[in-house]
């Protein structure tokens, strides 16, 4: 089939997802309510515990305020949720609904999944972009260039996470089950990613281990989300706990690897 025909198909699938997501006002608001709550309530509520009281003594030794530190992490959390939720809808579509109509068409299976994942990534990127409007609240200044790079990063991250979500969702039979499942995956991944509490980069590993238990330090260091959050922090507030290339490499690798595996899985069923 000629490339134009294939592109039309991918475009159609992508377009449908975007149309559905942007027409649903309730879903949009629900999507931004989570980062709103985290930032407004958690960030402001925890503020007194993280602000300086005495010079030289701060529980939280990095050159940024807690809200600034938290801001990129909140965006990543939002992308995680949006991506996984989207993945559920992909499986739902396939089993009960609309996707059957696409499956009997001449569109090749890999491209169907690609269109879907691209759509989901775009939606996650839009949601993340809406959260960027709150930057002023968190005292994060953004240039236009920073915004574009951040949006691009969000897109690639969402691409990987959506593919991962499709893999998960295909494994779970019921939807109630999936809700529980996703929460047991999303939240631990998120909390063990140096998102809410920083691992002081000035500490050596042995020092870190005295402050936090060994297993936690280990988890944080092998968790890919840690590096994703770190990369976004680097872009938005210019702070990296790990070498900056790690984050980008991890995000790119997740996108490629998870998509390929999801592809194989999707084509098989």
């Amino acid at each position: 089939m000629s490339p134009i025909i294939l592109l039309r198909g991918i475009y159609a699938i992508w377009l449908r997802e975007i149309t559905r997501a942007t027409r649903d006002r309730a879903q949009l608001i629900g999507g931004v309510s989570r980062p709103l709550i985290w930032l407004l309530i958690l960030g402001v509520g925890l503020n007194p515990y993280f602000r300086g009281e005495v010079y030289g003594e701060v529980r939280f030794v990095i050159p940024y305020t807690y809200l600034q530190f938290l801001f990129p992490a909140v965006i990543v959390l939002n992308i995680m949720y949006t991506s996984i939720q989207f993945a559920v809808s992909v499986i739902w579509d396939r089993e009960f609904g609309f996707l059957r109509e696409v499956l009997v068409s001449p569109m090749p299976r890999p491209l169907i999944l690609l269109g879907k994942v691209l759509g989901g990534s775009t939606i996650a990127m839009i949601h993340g972009g809406l959260v960027l409007i709150l930057a002023r609240f968190a005292d994060v200044t953004l240039t236009l260039g920073q915004m574009f790079v951040a949006l691009g990063l969000m897109f690639v991250l969402a691409f990987g996470l959506t593919s991962f979500g499709v893999l998960l969702a295909a494994r779970v039979r019921s939807f109630e089950g999936f809700g529980v499942f996703s929460n047991t995956i999303i939240l631990p991944l998120y909390f063990a990613s140096s998102s809410v509490f920083p691992l002081d980069p000035a500490l050596t590993r042995t020092q870190m281990v005295t402050a936090y238990p060994e297993w936690l330090v280990f988890l944080v260091q092998i968790n890919p989300i840690t590096y994703a959050v770190d990369a976004l922090r680097g872009v938005l507030i210019g702070f990296n706990q790990f070498p900056p290339t790690y984050g980008w490499a991890v995000i790119a690798a997740m996108a490629v690897v998870f998509f390929l595996v999801a592809l194989i899985d999707f084509s098989r069923s």
Binding site: I18, T19, T22, R23, D24, R25, L28, I29, V32, L36, L40, G43, V44, N47, P48, F50, R51, G52, E53, V54, Y55, G56, E57, V58, F60, V61, I62, P63, Y64, T65, Y66, L67, I126, L130, V131, I133, L134, A135, R136, F137, A138, D139
Partner: protein, 273 residues
């Protein structure tokens, strides 16, 4: 029942705009009460060390760049400036022992360098003053090898070891002097071909600007430090207000004028009036 196609993206655009507007409105919420607290009390407390010329001099007629600047900011915010002089600052290596607390200080000045180390403890608002190693000589550059340089390290925590090592590398003989007067002497008499000291100290020297020129020392080890006012982390509304007031003063040229008077700007040409 319509045959005319509505614009397909209209509902989407409306939704996005509504949500974006909602987020914008929320982004203006104040995250803390620091500014309103100060406005209620009517006072802005500035903590400074006893002496750090030219940022803090102790002279009531020319109290120092940081003090005057803070005064202008307080006025812009409609507050009264109270200056707390804390002798403990700078006396100990460990900043914890300086007893700088939130109770005593809203803003800290007089030697706060705008570096990542400082930002680990406080938010910094740059004041456009700079310090670092400067050289003083008749030529405006360092003399050739073998010559003597008078060195006055100053009290700020800049890396003297690196400086002496570098001088040795340049094959220049370093001669330590004990105070500004000695340095002055050495230069005027010609015992030293040039002098190196900290910029703020240099500003206090009484040198003929037509005879001697100042220049920043170049080199990887010699970054110049921007100076700043320190505001506690978590006092976001206060720091935003102070930053805005400073920006206003900067654009009106008032700060430039102040810098020239105290000799603290990055531009070394204008020495002092």
């Amino acid at each position: 029942m319509s045959k005319r196609a509505p614009h397909r993206w209209r509902p989407a655009a409306i939704n996005l705009m509504i949500v974006a507007a909602l987020m914008s409105v929320l982004s203006f919420l104040p995250p803390d009460t620091s500014l309103s607290d100060r406005q209620r009390s009517g006072v802005l407390k500035l903590c400074v060390p006893q002496s750090f010329p030219p940022l803090v001099t102790g002279d009531p007629n020319a109290p120092g760049y940081d003090v005057e600047l803070a005064g202008a900011v307080a006025e812009a915010l409609g507050l009264r400036l109270t200056v707390n002089v804390l002798p403990s600052i700078g006396r100990d290596y460990n900043p914890r022992n300086w007893s700088l607390t939130r109770a005593q200080c809203d803003v800290v000045g007089g030697g706060v360098a705008d570096t990542p180390q400082t930002r680990s403890f406080m938010q910094t608002i740059p004041t456009q003053a700079r310090t670092g190693w400067v050289g003083i000589s008749r030529t405006g550059a360092l003399p050739p090898e073998g010559q003597t340089i008078a060195v006055l390290p100053g009290t700020s925590g800049m890396d003297r070891l690196a400086l002496s090592g570098w001088l040795r590398q340049q094959r220049l003989r370093a001669q330590a002097v004990r105070g500004p007067a000695e340095l002055n002497q050495a230069l005027q008499s010609g015992a030293a071909a040039a002098a190196i000291t900290e910029r703020f100290v240099a500003a206090g020297l009484d040198l003929d600007p037509s005879a001697f020129q100042m220049f920043w020392l170049e080199g990887d080890t010699f970054a110049s430090f921007p100076m700043a006012l320190g505001v506690w982390k978590g006092d976001q509304t206060l720091s935003r207000a102070v930053g805005a007031a400073l920006a206003e003063l900067e654009s009106s040229g008032a700060l430039e004028h102040m810098r020239e008077r105290y000799g603290v700007g990055s531009d070394l040409g204008a020495n002092r009036s």
